[in-house]
Symmetry: C2
Subunit: 426 residues, 2 copies
């Protein structure tokens, strides 16, 4: 079963639920063995805003990651990729407020961050995942991080509060923290998987993602873990776009402590598929949170493309729709300007016959058909307005040709997006 | 000599000048043989806004066109493509306020528009270029056009005022008309080439363009004319992006009356190259006008990419830069956030080594280097602000690898872009 084909069990205000996977509290500290902390160390001027996060595991973990495909890569990406080449890690350090990218001394400082963790905790600097997020091209104030390390390590703990502190510390223009944890069973053993993520601009992942740090207590070998992460990232984070800009510092990483006591996953068996599904539940919901909290956003847009010749075609179409600035602006105004959806479908780089395409708009207020066989159909503008006034909109595109299906997530384009990005450096 | 490699002769407030090509008045009526008109026929509610344009030539013309590559094509595109299959035409009719796209009866109504011209003027319906621009997916009110034909034909004439009326009538969200005419010599004969165009949203041409109607009195065979038009469109209109959305109704067409008396161009000789250069002067300047008047824009952005391995690489990079929402928002705020330029260069789908890239920002207030060898260099933020406060900004990217060069045009992203597009249908 490909990731993402499970039947939904339902939706609450925010999360999409699936049978066999229960949402639990505790963020990245929910899986056994993990501690976390988040402090203000001074990279940001606002003392209320935490800017340095740490995750630490009581034992060595298998580890995996996916990275941005931008040719400009943040220095921390280069160091982390090197450190994870042996599939093993034990800690994550991440600062916000500065991306440590396009700086001549970037790698040196990213290495230094790993060493700082190593000096305070029983972990080799080569077993540290390092990340930075914020403005590009300004020297990283490493002294602030050096000065904050004692407090950061002292604050480590297993409570939901400490996990939440870490989730807050990695935020940039995000308006809220993003952390989700799920529990599920592997061979009768209770297992946990958790993640914290940050958006919320320069989001158009390409074979990678915005920053997301995952923890799990599942026992799973590093190469299988990498396979699972890559597979699920492809159908979740890689289908989010806030603004079409692929960041230089995107990364999703995972640490697996193995403390759940499950039979270790060493190949693609049944347990592997359950783990992949758990990853899908987590990453899909985090993707939705990132899109919902896109810079300036007032609405989450979810484009569900079905009936395509294959999944790739469906993905291309769904991504074209949620990336269209014109559609995004129309959604901000709750305007059922479906011509812009057709236009975006039409310029999607995929092969299909436009005369078979139908489009519905849906939300918790109902579903309305706006286009059939590539042409408009009469519909009630009033009903459309009621549907589009909700803060979560689904755009249902049926290509009418096959069984390919994909979902992509985005948000509306608002005055605040412009405001946030016109003012970002000041 | 490839189109677009001529040395600039200078720039006035608006136009880029070249040796041997003089800007003249008269718009599309400047070339010999052409008449034009523009009236309000009632597609738009606002009676002050002309919404129907006509161009008519006193004799048959050779003709050529390039069309949108969007799979959703406006009905007028389909009819025009059919009509121009013999390389011959004599009139253009274009309405604004409705795109006649994604309507079941679209082609029928586009055909009807050609017949209406044919009923009033000595032209076969198959020799009419028909175009529509405006909202997608609403039935075209053909009665309004039928009712307006008498006035439209009665208003035909050769004066600059009449050309201007036509240029106004094709505008949608454009804030000003776009018409340019140039004169030049072929074998001692004075020749003229002119065009009117409209933007200003859903602009991200792909092997075609927004609406642009060209007239010339050069004698040139249809297949050579098509070759010239395609060649120059590729390096001008196809390098403009306002918002990343490729429209369904893009078209650039040209009518050549042959009345200048030049030795008819039947193959790619020296006169052909001069004609290509004339086309370049006209289309490049119209491209700049379209970008400058992009929806909500306050600034024209011109990205000049040099030193690339080849022209295609340079084009990919230049287009990635001027398409970046994040950079566009920064330019609105006159913020020298060059990290966003590097980021966009980094995700451009081309092959090059980022560590050789340098970036300068330039305007009439000077030039400032912000990035060298892929990393930031110290610069005066104050000086950068002075440069970026101008309303025409040049972003100079040197890839440091070869001789490939390309220019692309865009604009800033502003509150007004969102406002215009949130309100468009209402």
């Amino acid at each position: 079963m490909p990731a993402g084909t499970m039947e939904e069990k339902g939706r609450d205000n925010v999360l999409v639920k699936f049978e066999g996977f229960d949402f639990i509290d505790g963020g990245v500290c929910a899986p056994k063995g993990f501690q976390a902390s988040g402090v203000h160390c001074g990279i940001r001027k606002n003392k209320e805003k935490k800017d340095l996060a740490l995750i630490f595991c009581e034992k060595d973990c298998t580890a995996a990651a996916c990275y941005t495909q931008n040719k400009v890569k943040g220095a921390p990406i280069l160091v982390t990729r090197q450190n994870l080449s042996d599939g093993k890690a034990r800690a994550v350090i991440c600062n916000s407020g500065n991306a440590n990218t396009c700086n001549a001394d970037g790698e040196e400082k990213a290495q230094r961050m790993c060493e700082l963790v190593s000096q305070k905790l029983p972990v080799d600097p080569k077993d540290v995942i390092v990340a930075s997020t914020g403005v590009i091209g300004q020297p990283l104030p490493i002294e602030a991080i050096e000065g904050g390390m004692d407090a950061l390590v002292a604050a480590l703990g297993r409570t939901p509060q400490q996990a939440q502190d870490a989730a807050f510390a990695i935020m940039t223009t995000d308006t809220r923290k993003k952390e989700i944890a799920v529990s599920f069973r592997l061979g009768g053993k209770e297992c946990r998987l958790a993640g914290m993520a940050k958006g919320s601009g320069m989001i158009h992942p390409n074979m990678a993602t915005m920053l997301c740090f995952l923890t799990t207590d599942v026992c799973i070998e590093a190469d299988v873990l990498q396979k699972a992460l890559s597979r699920v990232t492809k159908v979740t984070f890689n289908r989010v776009s806030i603004d079409g800009d692929t960041s230089t510092n995107d990364m999703v990483s995972i640490l697996a402590s193995g403390l759940a006591g499950n039979a270790c996953i060493t190949y693609e068996n049944e347990d592997y598929e359950i783990f992949v599904n758990a990853l899908y539940v987590l990453l899909m919901n985090l993707s939705r949170e990132i899109a919902r909290d896109g810079e300036g956003a007032t609405k989450l847009l979810e484009c569900v493309c079905t009936g395509a010749e294959d999944e790739e075609t469906a993905e291309t179409i769904a991504k074209a729709v949620i990336t269209s600035n014109l559609l995004k602006a129309a959604m901000f105004a709750a305007d059922a300007n479906w011509g812009r959806i057709l236009c975006a479908i039409g310029y999607a780089d995929a092969s299909f016959d436009i005369v078979r395409v139908s489009v519905d708009l849906a939300s918790s207020q109902g579903t309305i058909r706006v286009c059939e066989n590539g042409s408009g159909v009469a519909f009630s503008e009033e009903q459309a307005k009621t549907i589009l006034n909700e803060d979560e909109i689904r755009i249902l595109v049926n290509v009418g040709e096959g069984k390919g299906r994909a979902v992509a997530w985005g948000c509306d384009l608002t005055y605040d997006y412009v405001k946030i990005n016109a003012d970002y450096r000041t």
